[in-house]
């Protein structure tokens, strides 16, 4: 492989297909486009080996012996491991693709596929994964900061970001306005923000990420 950063940017692509020659063909195609590819023969093998931290995309055959592609997608979701998945299939039908797309698949490609379509889907998947990774990083950071708050400070934070004035917060919580002010400045400090607007933004971001 060439430069490290190149690989970083292109990400790592996992291929799960029980057909050796299809697997190898896809591996070559990915390599020719500069991706690093890791191949797995079955869903279980993929689950056992796990994935790297960097941006990752999974090319997944729907029809697999044992655990099939859709099962694997479901399994990953229940394990809380969100991945960009590009499905490939030898005989795709509509209900199957709908199910896969609903569960968050990047694309659903029938075999035989066009190289552009596959590589494009992989690119999207990696971009998506990279974004997801970045967001997860930020969300984690915010969570760390939030964990530093006391329960009272947390209550204050929740109310402040709704746009209430200190007085209203105090009335709501049954504490003095002055106390609210102290809590609020602590919150600002612990959350490492400069302004109320900034505080609102990161809490919103955190909520939107579903945590």
């Amino acid at each position: 492989m060439e430069a490290g950063e190149e690989t970083e940017e292109k990400g790592i692509v996992h291929v799960v297909d029980d057909d050796f020659s299809v697997r190898r063909g896809i591996e070559r195609l990915l390599r020719s486009a500069g991706h690093r590819a890791v191949c797995h023969e079955s869903a279980l093998e993929f689950l056992e080996k796990g994935v790297e931290d960097g941006p990752v995309c999974l090319i997944l055959d729907v029809r697999l012996p044992g655990l099939n592609g859709l099962d694997l997608q479901r399994e990953l979701l229940t394990r809380g491991r969100e991945l960009s998945i590009v499905f490939i299939t030898g005989h795709g039908d509509v209900p199957m693709s709908v199910e896969a797309m609903k569960a968050g698949a990047v694309d659903f490609l029938p075999k035989p596929f066009n190289d552009e379509a596959l590589l494009d889907a992989v690119k999207r998947g990696i971009r998506q994964d990279a974004k997801r990774k970045a967001r997860q990083f930020i969300v984690g950071e915010i969570r760390l900061r939030l964990e530093r708050l006391t329960s009272r400070e947390r209550e204050v934070l929740d109310l402040v970001v709704t746009g209430m004035l200190n007085k209203q917060v105090g009335a709501e919580l049954g504490i003095a306005e002055k106390t609210v002010k102290v809590h609020r400045s602590r919150v600002m400090e612990k959350m490492e923000v400069q302004s109320l607007a900034e505080l609102v933004r990161i809490t919103e971001y955190f909520r939107a990420s579903g945590s």
Partner: protein
């Protein structure tokens, strides 16, 4: 129907003629052409092409020219070699190459026959040569010689044509025209230089033509200067340019490829731009019909125009309209043109047209096939779902273009106009509707519409609704009677409906609702003759004729209302020979009923009931259908042919194999036929329907016959190798070993059906009828003169009685020559002379000796006494009874008979008698001698007096007379006697006699006689075969044997019984028969036998040994019974089963379609990904070529894999082709597993294979066993769809239950079976959408392989289906095959 490869081009002549008078001439000419019958109709004829390529022995597939010589041989010039074709083989000739000249192909462009029988052959880069066909040698070779101006100006000779005085016109490539005198060797050169000084072009001559009227004029077609005319008398060369002044004239072509003279005023000129009409008198081009790439044109014997093209196939050209009907190569039709690139066309004398193809050899077709059309329904299967066989046909009474076809797959309406085939709907659309039912027969209905007899009951076609309705009879009680298979159907003139089911016939009267059954009653001779009725016919007098399946026919007389039976007596002339009645036809002239049977054609006089067997001797054996044309000739549809029968009322009618000339065998399908209003006949065929137009049928000329080869087998010097039989052939003694003659009939219509007879005059009197073989072999003939004669019949059975002859002489060996014999005679004479002199001396000596003799005589007297004693002893000990009767007084022989008898009775006593005689009467010898004769033969015995009378009448001298005597308590005894009286002076003094008891012998003889009468009359054919030293010979054959084989008993006797077994009997059966003969065991089985007239037929054969006294087998009893009829029925059954099995496979595969799509998509995806990856790799600056190579390797193997999937699928879809092969079931199972692999994954089923590596191979049909496995596996899958995923396991196990057997079990984990027996019945199904045929088909397949199939429930739950087959002996190779099978599968993954 055949529209796909059709193109009709409509073109008007491109010219508008300059002056009006000329226009009139052309108009009239076209009008005249329009009147010709061949032109009037522009109907498309279907053509069948036969192909000959290098695989058949043609020297090269690029054919350049075709030529037929005067004898009739066809000569084919190819890109490498000259070929001679005689209908059987291609003989290749090439000139001898000079050493060191290098190998060069010998490309023949033109062939021309000279008057002396030699051929002139011109070719590319090889000048031209003279070729002697009798020796196969190239005599002279004339080539271009550099620097010689009076010689050939080009390497390549394109055309050779005869000029006056035996000279030749030679057209060359770029060298212009030459005239060559073969006698003097002189060459004249006429360059065709164009009128420009710098042009060195001397002319490409592509066509040469000389008319009979003006032999000095040569018409030249050139490659760049168009049409030219050269007058050799004046030297004038004229070129036909376009007249610049006339804008309307047809532009002359620049390239002319051939010139065809139709008449002195009409030439057809071919050019790559199309056809031109040329008037040679006016020197004008009159019309142009465009056809790209046109290469050649021929006008056939009926005046049709056929053109070929270098790239767009063959076309028929209609000058009247300017249309072309094009015939192209079609992938799906093997009888289409094999290639669209045609270089040349040639019309042979038999009217066949030969197309020489640029790269695919020869395709030949018959342009005159208007009399026979094949309507193939194979293409229409898309509309009809399933293949079908026509069982009934009926022309619509309202629209004559419509024909109704009753098939194995329902009722169809067939429009003959456009070939449309429409399935007819049943009123109720339920499953039991018409679509799934065999339509057995159709009959017009007086009230409109028609009756339909099906395999499940009676229906009728309602014209108003256009639908089929079940027939509901008027009374409720007869409802059940119109259900079930209707085997025959007829509405009589009085409006009664006859229909036949099992047990006889029934009639329903519509008016009264009365219903009458006519059932077969074996005890009642006036009941219908048999249970099964095939056909019903109502004659003009209103009598009804019923043709039975197994026992001749019955006639219901209109006058008496009673049945008259005509029972079959096979092979008895003057009796109804046929057993199975296929068809009836009442002669158009009335009074005669023609009956088609399994043993030929019968003629019945309706009035008298007299039967004639027409087919005896040369006639066809199995007559399925009979039709009569307007000329009163009969047309018979037989198993193999459609036969025209002339002189139907004569004792020796003429049979012509009409379809023989088309090389077509319609196949043993269906015995229906249909005569259309317009005179055509329809007959069913394997692929659809054959339509015969009797008025268009044409009889061929007798074929020319030639002896093509006379070979001395195993010897180097050959008297005649493909040469001229006119020469004087003399063979010496050492060459007189094995002689082989080959011969040919030069009729190319269907050469494989030409037939031959030969005879060696000087050796034999009879002709050998050789059939279709074309060689004869003789070994070691006596010295003398012989003539080998051969005659031949063409494919229609028209004989050339004169035939061909080849005379040859065999010289005697040295010891049989005249000079050797002469010397021998001289030697003998010399010896005789010296012997005479010697004799005189001898006589003198003998006189002296005589005296000594007399002395010896006395001695002899005493010897005599001793001899008397010996004689007495002999008498006493003889087992023969010896007696002497004397009389009290001698009896005068002149007395009247009665008196002599009386005296004999009174006076006779035993004077002498031996022990044997006395013992016979229970007396001692002493008692006997002297006793009265009365004692043993009293007067009261009824035989006594007649015996004495007989004795007197014969003058007391009788030999070998038989008497029946009553002796003591031994009962009645039969004696054979001799007696001799001594008569002295007219009186009998004594009577001597002997007697022998033959009672036992006689009894045995009677028994033998009874046995032989029994054997003679049994219905089985019976042979007694004697075991010789190293062969078998027939010592006895009963009458039935000669009947069923048709051989006379003289022909049968002393022949080997194997002589009567046909070569088609399977080698396995033959081996076991031989083993039985060798080991003296018994045999029982089915064999194919040879009949003299009827061809091969099936017999049940039983052989049992008979042991002689020494305990060794001395004879075999060989019993045969004719089972042809049963076999035929089985064949039809088998055919239906095959069709059904195929349909089932198609359905099973249809169900697997998605998984197969997946199996294909996998490799395609891999190929796609790999190829695209490679493309990208190659765009990068430093391409890794190893990687690319690897990728290409993968692409190739994936491609293989995709191909393999398709191959497997196609194998399954194929109908059964070929016979059983040796199979490794383990391997087969693995193959089937790959087919269902994806399906198993989708359905989340695990397949476990438990294969026994020591499994013996089996002999079976691959496809069938695959189908069995596939069906069982899919069934197993289906059974497990509603159980837990983890339990879905299908086990396939192979094992050897006992040595020599193979068992395969398929176990599922489903809910198991309720009834393990019923599952194999047809239409038993537990599935929602199942047909219920799968397991029934499996059972049929397995049992047809001699195996067994059963079902059971396994203890773990689930069903288990198993089948077992017999293993074959080859065990050793299995292991290897399994590993190979695995590798194959590994590759697939």
């Amino acid at each position: 129907m055949e529209g796909e490869d059709t193109m009709v081009r409509m073109l008007v002549p491109l010219s508008i003629f300059p002056d009006s008078s000329f226009r009139w001439v052309i108009f009239l000419a076209i009008l005249g052409f329009g009147m010709l019958p061949g032109w009037a109709e522009e109907e498309r004829v279907d053509l069948r092409f036969r192909h000959h390529t290098s695989r058949d022995g043609l020297s090269n597939d690029s054919v350049k020219c075709v030529y037929q010589d005067d004898t009739g041989f066809l000569w084919i010039g190819t890109a490498d070699g000259l070929n001679r074709y005689d209908g059987h083989e291609f003989l290749v000739f090439r000139p001898e190459r000079k050493p060191g000249a290098g190998v060069r192909s010998f490309s023949v462009r033109t062939i021309h026959a000279a008057a002396d029988g030699c051929l002139w052959v011109g070719g590319e880069n090889s000048g031209f040569s003279k070729f002697d066909p009798t020796t196969g040698r190239f005599l002279e070779q004339h080539r271009f010689e550099d620097g010689r101006t009076d010689w050939l100006a080009s390497q390549t000779v394109i055309r050779i044509k005869g000029a006056s005085e035996g000279r030749l016109w030679i057209g060359t490539n770029w060298g212009g025209l030459h005239r060559f005198d073969p006698n003097s060797g002189a060459m004249e050169h006429f360059p065709l230089r164009e009128q420009t000084p710098r042009n060195t072009n001397q002319g490409i001559i592509q066509a040469l033509h000389v008319t009979e009227a003006a032999p000095e004029i040569v018409w030249l077609g050139t490659g760049s200067m168009g049409m030219m005319r050269f007058d050799s008398a004046t030297g004038e060369l004229r070129r036909y340019h376009q007249d610049p002044l006339s804008a309307h004239e047809v532009a002359p072509p620049r390239v002319v490829t051939s010139i065809v003279e139709e008449s002195p005023i009409c030439f057809w000129i071919t050019s790559p731009k199309g056809i031109y009409r040329f008037d040679p008198v006016a020197g004008r081009f009159l019309a142009h019909y465009e056809f790209r790439g046109l290469s050649s044109l021929v006008i056939d014997q009926d005046g049709r125009y056929w053109v070929s093209s270098g790239n767009s196939g063959l076309a028929r050209f209609f000058p009247g309209s300017g249309k072309f009907h094009v015939y192209l190569h079609s992938e799906s039709n093997p009888q289409s043109l094999s290639d669209n690139r045609i270089r040349t066309l040639h019309l042979d004398r038999g009217g066949m047209i030969w197309a020489g193809l640029s790269a695919s050899g020869l395709s030949v077709f018959n342009p005159q096939r208007e009399w026979l059309r094949e309507h193939r329904f194979a293409d229409a299967r898309r509309n009809t779902e399933d293949p079908m066989i026509v069982l009934a046909m009926l022309q619509d009474d309202e629209n004559p273009e419509l024909v109704w076809l009753g098939t194995t797959n329902g009722l169809f309406q067939w429009d003959r106009n456009n070939g449309d085939l429409v399935r007819c709907q049943h009123e109720s659309e339920d499953v039991a509707g018409l679509s799934k039912i065999k339509v057995q027969n159709l009959s017009l209905r007086a009230q409109g519409g028609f009756w339909i007899g099906t395999s499940s009951g009676l229906n009728w076609f309602d014209r108003e609704t256009g639908k089929v309705r079940p027939f509901k009879p008027p009374g409720d009680e007869v409802k059940g009677l119109v259900k079930g298979k209707i085997s025959a159907l007829h509405e009589d003139k009085e409006g009664g409906l006859w229909f036949c089911k099992e047990r006889g016939a029934r009639r329903l009267n519509f008016e009264t609702g009365e219903f009458v059954s006519f059932l077969h009653d074996p005890a009642d001779p006036e009941s219908i003759g048999a249970r099964q009725v095939n056909q019903i016919h109502e004659d003009r007098a209103g009598n009804l004729w019923f043709g039975h399946r197994s026992n001749g026919l019955s006639m219901l007389s209109r006058q008496t209302g009673k049945f008259i039976r005509i029972e079959s007596e096979p092979y008895v002339p003057g009796r109804l020979s046929g057993v199975n009645i296929h068809s009836f036809h009442e002669d158009f002239e009335g009074g005669i009923l023609w009956v088609g049977t399994n043993l030929g054609l019968m003629r019945i006089e309706i009035e008298s009931g007299e039967v004639d067997w027409i087919s005896i001797g040369s006639g066809p054996a199995n007559v399925f259908a009979i039709k009569q044309d307007e000329d009163m000739n009969l047309w018979l549809r037989t198993r193999d042919d459609i036969v025209r029968m002339l002189d139907r009322n004569s004792a020796n009618p003429i049979f012509q194999l009409a379809t023989g000339s088309e090389g077509l065998r319609p196949g043993a399908i269906g015995w229906v036929s249909c005569a259309l209003d317009t005179g055509e006949f329809l007959f069913p065929a394997v692929t659809g329907v054959l339509e015969v137009r009797p008025d268009r049928f044409r009889l061929l000329e007798p074929p020319p016959v030639v002896v093509t080869d006379f070979e001395l087998v195993g010897q180097s010097d050959q008297p005649l190798r493909g040469g001229d039989p006119g020469q004087n052939i003399v063979l010496n003694d050492s060459q007189n070993k094995i002689m082989k003659f080959k011969f040919a009939a030069l009729d190319f219509r269907a050469p494989e059906r030409n037939r031959f007879a030969y005879r060696l005059v000087g050796l034999e009197e009879e002709w050998h009828y050789e059939g279709e073989g074309n060689s004869a072999t003789y070994t070691t003939l006596k010295p003398g003169a012989y003539v080998f004669r051969v005659k031949a019949a063409n494919s229609q059975g028209v004989w050339n009685e004169e035939g061909a002859a080849l005379a040859f002489r065999i010289l005697p060996p040295w010891w049989a020559t005249w000079w050797f014999r002469g010397a021998l005679v001289a030697g003998l004479l010399l010896m005789g002379g010296s012997f005479g002199w010697f004799r005189v001396r001898q006589v003198q000596k003998r006189t002296a000796v005589l005296e000594v003799e007399i002395r010896k005589r006395e001695k002899l007297n005493s010897e005599l006494n001793r001899s008397e004693e010996r004689f007495q002893n002999l008498l006493a000990n003889s087992s023969e009874q010896v007696w002497c009767l004397e009389f009290d007084e001698a009896i005068p022989v002149h007395l009247p008979e009665e008196e002599q008898v009386e005296l004999l009775l009174e006076r006779t006593f035993f004077a002498e008698g031996n022990e044997a005689l006395a013992a016979a009467y229970g007396l001692s010898r002493e008692e006997l001698i002297g006793s009265r004769f009365e004692r043993v033969m009293p007067r009261s015995l009824p035989t006594t007096i007649p015996l004495f009378q007989e004795v007197v009448r014969n003058g007391y001298k009788m030999k070998d007379f038989v008497t029946v005597e009553q002796a003591g308590d031994c009962g009645e005894r039969i004696m054979i006697n001799n007696l001799m009286g001594t008569i002295v002076d007219g009186k009998v003094t004594r009577v001597w006699g002997t007697a022998r008891d033959i009672t036992r012998q006689r009894r045995a003889e009677e028994l033998v006689k009874l046995h032989s009468v029994t054997i003679e009359n049994v219905s089985d054919a019976f042979l007694i075969v004697e075991v010789g030293v190293d062969d078998l010979s027939i010592v006895y054959a009963n009458r039935r044997f000669t009947e069923i084989t048709g051989f006379a008993s003289e022909e049968v006797e002393e022949a080997s019984p194997f002589r009567f077994l046909a070569s088609g009997t399977s080698p396995k059966v033959m081996d076991s028969i031989r083993a039985v003969i060798r080991d003296g065991g018994s045999f029982e089985g089915e064999v194919l036998c040879d009949g003299k007239f009827r061809g091969t037929f099936w017999s049940d054969l039983r052989i049992s040994p008979v042991c002689g006294e020494d305990g060794k087998v001395s004879h075999f009893v060989w019993i045969q019974s004719d089972i042809t009829a049963r076999k035929e029925a089985e064949d039809i059954q088998l055919n239906h089963e095959k069709v059904l099995a195929h349909a089932d496979r198609v359905a099973t595969l249809g169900g697997l379609a998605t998984t197969i799509a997946h199996e294909l998509n996998q490799p395609l995806a891999a190929i796609g990904a790999n190829a695209q990856a490679a493309q990208r790799f190659m765009q990068s600056p430093n391409t890794d070529w190893d990687e690319i190579r690897e990728i290409l390797g993968d692409i190739i193997s994936d491609n293989e894999r995709a191909a393999e999937v398709i191959r497997r699928m196609r194998n399954l879809l194929k109908k059964r082709v070929g016979s059983d092969e040796s199979l490794d079931l383990n391997e087969l199972i693995q193959g089937v597993e790959t087919l269902v692999h994806s399906d198993a994954i989708i359905r989340q089923i695990e397949i476990r294979l438990i294969l026994d590596p020591s499994l013996p191979r089996v002999r079976a049909g691959r496809t069938e066993i695959q189908q069995v496995l596939l069906n069982l596996i899919i069934n197993g899958f289906d059974a497990m769809m509603d159980i837990e995923v983890s339990d879905r396991i299908l086990e396939i196990q192979t094992l050897v239950p006992e040595p020599g057997q193979v068992q395969v079990s398929v176990r599922d984990r489903g809910h198991g079976l309720d009834d393990t027996e019923a599952v194999f019945e047809a239409f038993h199904t537990t599935k929602q959408d199942g047909l219920g045929m799968g397991l029934a088909i499996i059972k049929t397949i397995v049992e047809s392989h001699g195996g067994r199939v059963w079902a059971g429930n396994s203890p773990e739950g689930g069903a288990c289906f198993s089948f077992s087959l017999l293993g074959s002996e080859e065990v050793g190779v299995v292991g290897e095959d399994v590993s190979r099978g695995r590798d194959e599968i590994a590759n697939l993954k």
